[in-house]
């Protein structure tokens, strides 16, 4: 079969199931967890926490800063006109454009990182149940090797263990 999963009504039961699966020898990567809200206060909901997103945001901001500086200073010199007695490259006022593009770069970099790391947009995987949206937590394994042990670990599932 393609997958076995269980739907759990409380995070405690879900934690129990994850611990059971680990004890049954299922590798971490193969345990699928899905929920309708973030479960960060529970251990099973706090994996995959590290992200390079803040660094990407800084990188995006730096790119935006460079882009803003280059845009303003080079284009102001392409047809040099002084206006109002100010210099041709007015860095004080260019700071404003540079600031906006820096922030835009940081925001775009964060969003792009999110889309890539969360694999969005993507297709809904085979192992998914619409009851997750009702508030249940899905714990499952795709292509399980030790079927009986997996089923035993998932015994706390509401309505029994489901199979795909």
């Amino acid at each position: 079969m393609k997958a076995i999963y269980g739907l759990f009504t409380t995070p405690e039961l879900a934690q129990q199931a994850v611990d059971g699966l680990r004890a049954a020898g299922v590798p971490e990567r193969e345990i699928t967890i899905q929920s309708s809200e973030p479960m960060e206060e529970y251990e099973f909901g706090s994996r995959d926490r590290e992200t390079i997103m803040p660094w990407n945001a800084v990188l995006g901001g730096t790119i935006g800063l460079a882009a803003g500086y280059l845009l303003t200073s080079t284009t102001q010199q392409s047809w040099p006109i002084t206006t109002g007695g100010m210099p041709i490259v007015t860095n004080w006022s260019n700071l404003i454009i540079i600031f906006e593009l820096t922030m835009l770069g940081a925001v775009f970099a964060s969003v792009i990182t999110l889309l890539f790391s969360a694999r969005l947009p993507g297709r809904l995987p085979k192992l998914y149940d619409a009851e997750v949206s009702e508030g249940k937590i899905l714990i499952g394994v795709s292509n399980p090797k030790e079927v009986a042990q997996v089923e035993h670990a998932l015994r706390g599932s509401t309505g029994g263990v489901r199979k795909l």
């Binding site: 006109i81 109002g84 007695g85």
Partner: protein, 192 residues
Amino acid sequence: MHWIRIERYWEGEFPEVKVKFRPVLCQQCDDAPCEPVCPTYASSHSEEGLNSQIYNRCIGTRYCANACGYNVRFFNFFTPSWDKPLHLQLNPDVSVREGGVMEKCTFCIQRINAGKVSAGIQQRPLMDGEIQPACVQSCTANALVFGDLADPDSMVSKLANSPRGTKLLEELGTKPKITYLQQGSWDDSQNR
């Protein structure tokens, strides 16, 4: 609206009423407040020091007119049209501005260019007083003097340095080019 206006101020009660008047036109400021605020460089500075209004670049934000402390910029709220044969009165050297575009006194840029062209053809420098904008030419009292401020020998340079000279709204820091000469004292015989 007219690009040059005569401002009139009345002082006193009848019958001792005095009127003071002063022609106000674009001051062609060195530090023009109308220039940095134009988003499309329609209001910009020419190399000769004039504040040029480039009609084709104007998108009509009217920021320059708000920034101008002298209120000498005018907006074409409508596209003007003249029924025939009144269209014949238009000067062929002056662009007709369409609606949505700012305009102002240009120091008769068409006459300046015509003067430069004819001097260039004759391969000689421009003479002082050769170019006369329309207002200077038509003033019957010779109250307006136009010339090259960069030339220290020109009449306008000498008058601009006169102790009778003041600038309009000088405190705004716009460095206007136009010098207004006040009434002189008895020993100002050298100056007009």
